[in-house]
Amino acid sequence: MISLAGRDILHSWGKFVLTGIGLGLLIGATLTMAGVYRGMVDDARVLLTNSGADIWVVQKDTQGPYAEASSIRDDVYRGLLGMPGVAQAANVTYLTMQVRHGARESRSMVVGFEPGQPGEPGYLVAGRRLVRSHYEAIADVKTGFRLGDRIRIRRHDYEVVGLTQRMVSSGGDPMVFIPLKDAQEAQFLKDNDAIIADRARTAANPALNRPGVPGLLDAVTASQTINHSVNAVLVKVGAGDTAETVAQEIRRWKHLQAYTREQMEEILIAKLIATSAKQIGMFLAILTIVSAAIVAFIIYTMTLGKIREIAVLKLIGTRNRTIAGMILQQALGLGLIGFVVGKISATLWAPAFPKYVLLETADAMRALAIVMLVCALASTLAIRAALKVDPATAIGG
């Protein structure tokens, strides 16, 4: 038996392919939305992996440093180094801000870290690591900075000496790594006018500028210009110890919050990007419904255009199953064209997105199954219309 659906598609392939392309762009948008979500999850995982930490020690009762503000003293790491099971402990700061390069600005997460310690970018794609104590930076390629660029963070210029990649915050902002001391200063560094105004305000405060206590005002002023806080301490666990055991000890003895890799992943994925995931889920649902409506409408219209031929086919003995099969195959064919166009489109435009878009094969396969299911369901309306056609309408004009 010849394929009636195949012949009909070949006969009106122009209309069919154009419709498939239209549907494909919609499927491409759907796949991209799924890819955006996968990208966010993957970014979160890569962020944790590249930090090189087993435990994140943060301010008590916070979920920092990525989800909430966390501030702990920068000498805490010394105490942690003395605890059993802790192989390495290093301070890190995170600050999302606008980093300027000439007239251009890049929204970035500025990370302060100590070279050779957890928190340092795992690998470079160009340039070198930081060797000077100040004013050098390593930037993620997504910032658009190049080696040798001079970028401005607060009041200081930094030279980009290295480039890394896949280092973005949970919000998708690319990271710029600078020495810890510079980052600590940058967190609270104000402009000169503000500093002068602050000093005048302190000097005018009788509690901080007592006439009988010489040197008090200088000490208070000095303490206001130095930042001794960091956002987190990244801990690496020694061989033979488990992260959970060490984290429990830190929670118990240091009155700080300590998260293991699994717990941090839970915070990032299940909590931090949960709203975004729901948002994307809603878009996916809407796009799926729109796709189904389009397929249903197209197949229904195409079927109505063949009512007379269907009546003749039924009159000359074509079984309902064959006619239903023809319509179903056309709907599936449309879905297949749409899926192929959608997959190609998504693959082509994904790199142009500012955030990482991860197109997983498993997602594509799931999408194919959903597209086919949606097309099959969408064709039922047309099949119903075709099966209702009375073969008698072919007789008698």
């Binding site: 038996m1 010849i2 009636l4 012949r7 009909d8 070949l10 006969h11 009106s12 007379r308 031929e309 003749v312 086919l313 039924k314 009159l315 000359i316 003995g317 074509t318 079984r319 064959t322 009375d390 073969p391 008698a392 072919a394 007789i395 008698g396 004009g397």
Partner: protein
């Protein structure tokens, strides 16, 4: 048994009670294999209803129909003899319509071969059969053409080939010459006569067409649901 078409006391009533309409009243017809008869009558006389009953598309109210020596309907013995009317139409009745109604997405060969294929015959065998018929109808040279590429006369010849594809004992032709000019209309009737004779098929031609009515040897006039048989002129077609 009677070969060809044999109809006894066929009636069809639409509706019931006061609004009932008797579209066919005690119709009797007998058409021999190889014979072509005309079925002539004004609009609303019951021609289409008779065709639909014969085509197993609607069920008569009463009577008996025998096609190709086989009783297909007998109101006194439970109505249709088969539940699969679709297969009955496919295997035992050929249809030719006012417009050719070829399937636009199949080429000429497959339009004809579709019927044997639907009957379960192999694609190759079906296409060989189609080509034989196209040859007989002098349209084999358009075998690979799409229906939209054919002239009106060629399309009608292909639709005749399609009607003959499963070698049915009966062909029902519903105003097959309506869209054609005199010359082509007469050519179609000549072909129908040839095919009826060649394949021993009984053909009923429903028509209003004054050009072709004189060509029939026998004519059934239908008026108000009743048929009257009259001899036709049987004029030769040059």
């Amino acid at each position: 048994m009677d070969e060809g078409i044999h109809i006894e006391g066929l009636s069809k009533r639409y509706g019931a009670g006061d609004t009932a309409v008797d579209a066919l009243k005690d119709v009797n017809m007998r058409i021999a294999p190889g014979e072509v008869v005309g079925l002539v009558g004004p609009s609303g006389s019951g021609k289409t209803t008779l065709l639909k009953c014969l085509g197993a598309v609607i069920e008569p109210t009463r009577g008996r129909m025998i096609l190709g020596g086989e009783v297909i309907y007998d109101s006194e013995q439970g109505g249709w003899k088969t539940k699969d009317l679709r297969a009955l139409r496919r295997d035992r009745i050929g249809f030719i319509f006012q417009a050719p109604y070829l399937i636009p997405f199949l080429d000429v060969t497959d339009n004809v071969a579709l019927l044997p294929m639907l009957a379960g015959r192999a694609n190759g065998t079906s296409r060989v059969r189609a080509l034989e018929l196209l040859q007989a109808l002098d349209v084999a040279h358009r075998a690979k053409a799409q229906p939209s590429e054919l002239s009106g006369g060629e399309q009608q010849r292909v639709s005749i080939a399609r009607a003959l594809a499963n070698q049915p004992p009966v062909i029902l032709a519903d105003e097959p010459t309506a869209p054609l000019d005199s010359q082509r209309a007469l050519a179609v009737v000549r072909i129908l006569n040839q095919m009826a004779s060649q394949y021993q098929t009984a053909i009923i031609v429903v028509t209003h067409d004054e050009k072709i009515i004189p060509t029939f040897k026998r004519i059934y006039h239908i008026r108000d649901g009743r048929t009257v048989e009259e001899p036709g002129e049987g004029r030769e077609i040059s």
